[in-house]
Symmetry: C2
Subunit: 177 residues, 2 copies
DNA sequence: AACATTGTTCAGAAAATTTTGAACGTTCCC
DNA sequence: GGGAACGTTCAAAATTTTCTGAACAATGTT
């Protein structure tokens, strides 16, 4: 006699919750954020009361060290709030369930920062290619016509970068989500 | 006597190109696409004539095996085109410089697919939580009030997913970029 | 037919990332 | 002060991901 509560079709709630957590991990991982981030957030998203660090580590089957770092990461994105319970020295956490907050305060700035690096490099490369270099002796194997084409492309990339950055910065997107 | 062509300030073109390539790699890596993808694309983006597999592998200092796989990946995203030169058995590649094509044909479908998995799981979890379970004996430690809250959250997540998928699917975004 | 050239595949090696246990710093209580 | 309860940090271990060399298939050349 197995105490597998759910009667017909479908897994028990515990099992389904586990799947949800793993799916969260896979999703965050797929976008280059690490698997723990998604797992921890997904878990808190389904928790109706704040959880302590130990609770979280235990549920995720992970060391307290991992839990600590991943939660601070999530907190820095405003994806998780720290709750102080009077007369209890533990830190409790709950998920921010308003995605627009997480997007606006956490994810977007992160994405923009990542793009920033790329943008800076495009700029530098463009400058380097624009180098007058008026008939420099060793004019390095780049024919003038090619040079023009390269500049055209770089400017195009720069434009894309600027438009993208603008969209991500605008409140429009965050509002829409 | 160093033959470092560029006169004042700034690196030589070769050096700057190298930096551009690495920046491309870092960017793609930051978004979970692997470092090679960005390096290969960045390199072809600056190449004014199609390059063979060997050229590419040599320039990136990478085995032919790596080059082969990364190029097929890029081709599947329409980020790179294969060029056939008459009477030459080699495959030549050139970059698609129109980003909207890459976005629309390559990246967006990939992103949507990644989100699809998450969406499916949300759906399943929602169903599992909606399980009538009319006073099942072992009603698994979930208070009715909590259950309601969880369902609310899951529906909210589902909505976000749907909106997101819709935006990504619409031609609007691709057109804007 | 034997050989050359080229791209692909895949098991294993190399490299990068993630996870952990142990040491430590704080704060609180006895 | 001594000790217990927590969270954090960090070097090292475990795991995952990426890369490579060798074997191979396909096509063309002598």
């Amino acid at each position: 006699m197995f105490s597998n509560s759910s009667s017909h079709q479908g897994l028990s709630w515990a099992a389904e919750r586990h799947r949800f957590i793993e799916a969260g991990g896979n999703t965050s991982h797929a976008f280059g954020l690490g698997r723990m981030i998604g797992r921890a957030y997904a878990m808190l998203y389904l928790a109706t009361s704040p959880m302590s660090l130990d609770d979280i580590a235990a549920t995720l089957r992970v060391s307290k060290a991992s839990a600590s770092t991943v939660l601070r990461q999530l907190a820095s994105w405003q994806a998780v709030r720290q709750i102080w319970v009077a007369g209890d020295r533990k830190d409790y956490y709950e998920a921010e369930t308003d995605f627009s907050v997480i997007l606006k305060e956490g994810l977007m700035p992160g994405v923009r920062k990542k793009l920033q690096t790329a943008g800076t490099q495009i700029e530098k490369t463009l400058q380097s290619s624009t180098q007058k270099a008026p008939t420099t002796p060793a004019n390095e194997e780049v024919a003038p016509a090619d040079q023009a084409e390269i500049r055209r492309r770089l400017r195009s990339a720069q434009q894309l970068h600027q438009r993208l950055d603008k969209v991500l910065g605008s409140k429009l997107l965050a509002r829409f989500l």
